[in-house]
């Protein structure tokens, strides 16, 4: 092989290396930056939605049951209130997957612990070949309820 042929063969090698670098490092880096940023924001959005839902849930006890029996119960109205707040905070989708509560009764005081879970999916924008990411969040909210005389105070 003469010198001219060698030079011709060498020409374009740097370009090929750069193209490989761009394709294997830079573009995936950019894609990851976009999709990971979106995932963080979605996680924060979901965390807020679940917390807001759980707070609404725990703050809507069935007052009729309480007056009648003295028991603290989070019923259908509380669930509906939780779902309403979740919907306000996650207009783009997501699901409130669970709402449950436990009550520890002591004379004159009820300690209510509510646990709520939610999840949301994110379709990657650039890494479109990948499956949908799913983010999930579970929160626990505690509330103390005292005498009915204090209900409804602002």
């Amino acid at each position: 092989m003469d010198a001219v042929s060698k030079r011709r063969k060498a020409r374009g090698s740097a370009m090929a290396l750069y193209a490989m670098f761009i394709g294997t490092v830079c573009v995936p880096l950019l894609a990851a930056t976009v999709d990971i940023s979106r995932m963080w924001v979605k996680q924060a959005e979901l965390a807020n939605a679940v917390e807001a839902a759980c707070s609404a849930y725990v703050n809507t006890p069935d007052t009729a049951v309480f007056i009648e029996s003295g028991r603290t119960v989070l019923g259908a109205e509380a669930r509906s209130e939780g779902r309403r707040l979740f919907g306000y905070n996650m207009p783009s989708g997501g699901a409130l997957t669970g709402m449950s509560f436990a009550v520890e009764e002591t004379p004159g005081l009820a300690l209510v612990t509510a646990t709520c879970s939610g999840r949301a999916g994110i379709r990657p924008v650039i890494l479109a070949g990948l499956a949908e990411f799913t983010v999930a969040k579970t929160v626990t909210v505690k509330a103390k309820y005292g005498s009915p005389a204090n209900w409804g105070t602002d």
Binding site: A3, R7, A10, R11, G12, A14, M15, Y18, A19, F21, I22, C26, V27, L29, L30, T33, V34, I36, S37, R38, W40, V41, A44, E45, A47, N48, E51, A52, S55, A56, N59, T60, P61, T63, E81, L85, Y88, N89, Y145, W151, G152, T153, D154
Partner: protein
């Protein structure tokens, strides 16, 4: 002969390096926007949470909390906070919206080529909470 080969490599690098740099600048820009969006989201959440437990002046407390959260985040960019309270007392709903915008680094590069790029990118984050307390 050596000079000729070096010149060829230089020309190839001159074509390729700007492409690499452009992608890195894009990545930097996207992460800046991501941080601003996250700061706005956290501020809206915090503001709404504080407003929901405020007995009175929920709007004032919510706005102050959201602004404090933004200040603490240390993210540069423009933010505006809007708090609305519908109804009064427990059971009403407080909504905190934080708008964000962050300058794009690419704007200067676009101008160099005579093309216009948006000078900033932005969005908004809204958090809605129920004001705490029981209703009879």
């Amino acid at each position: 002969m050596l000079t000729d080969r070096r010149a060829g490599q230089m020309a190839e690098a001159a074509v390729s390096i700007p492409a690499v740099l452009l992608i890195l600048v894009l990545a930097l820009n996207v992460s800046r926007a991501g941080f601003a969006a996250l700061a706005a989201r956290n501020a809206a959440n915090y503001g709404a949470r504080v407003a929901s437990v405020a007995g009175s002046n929920a709007k004032v407390y919510g706005e102050a909390a959201a602004k404090a959260s933004l200040e603490q985040s240390g993210v540069d960019g423009g933010f505006n906070v809007d708090v609305t309270v519908s109804g009064s007392g427990p059971g009403s709903v407080v909504s905190v919206t934080v708008g964000w915008s962050t300058p794009t680094i690419l704007a200067g590069i676009c101008q160099a080529f005579g093309e216009g790029c948006p000078a900033s990118v932005g969005g908004e984050a809204t958090a809605v909470w129920r004001r705490e307390g029981w209703t009879r």
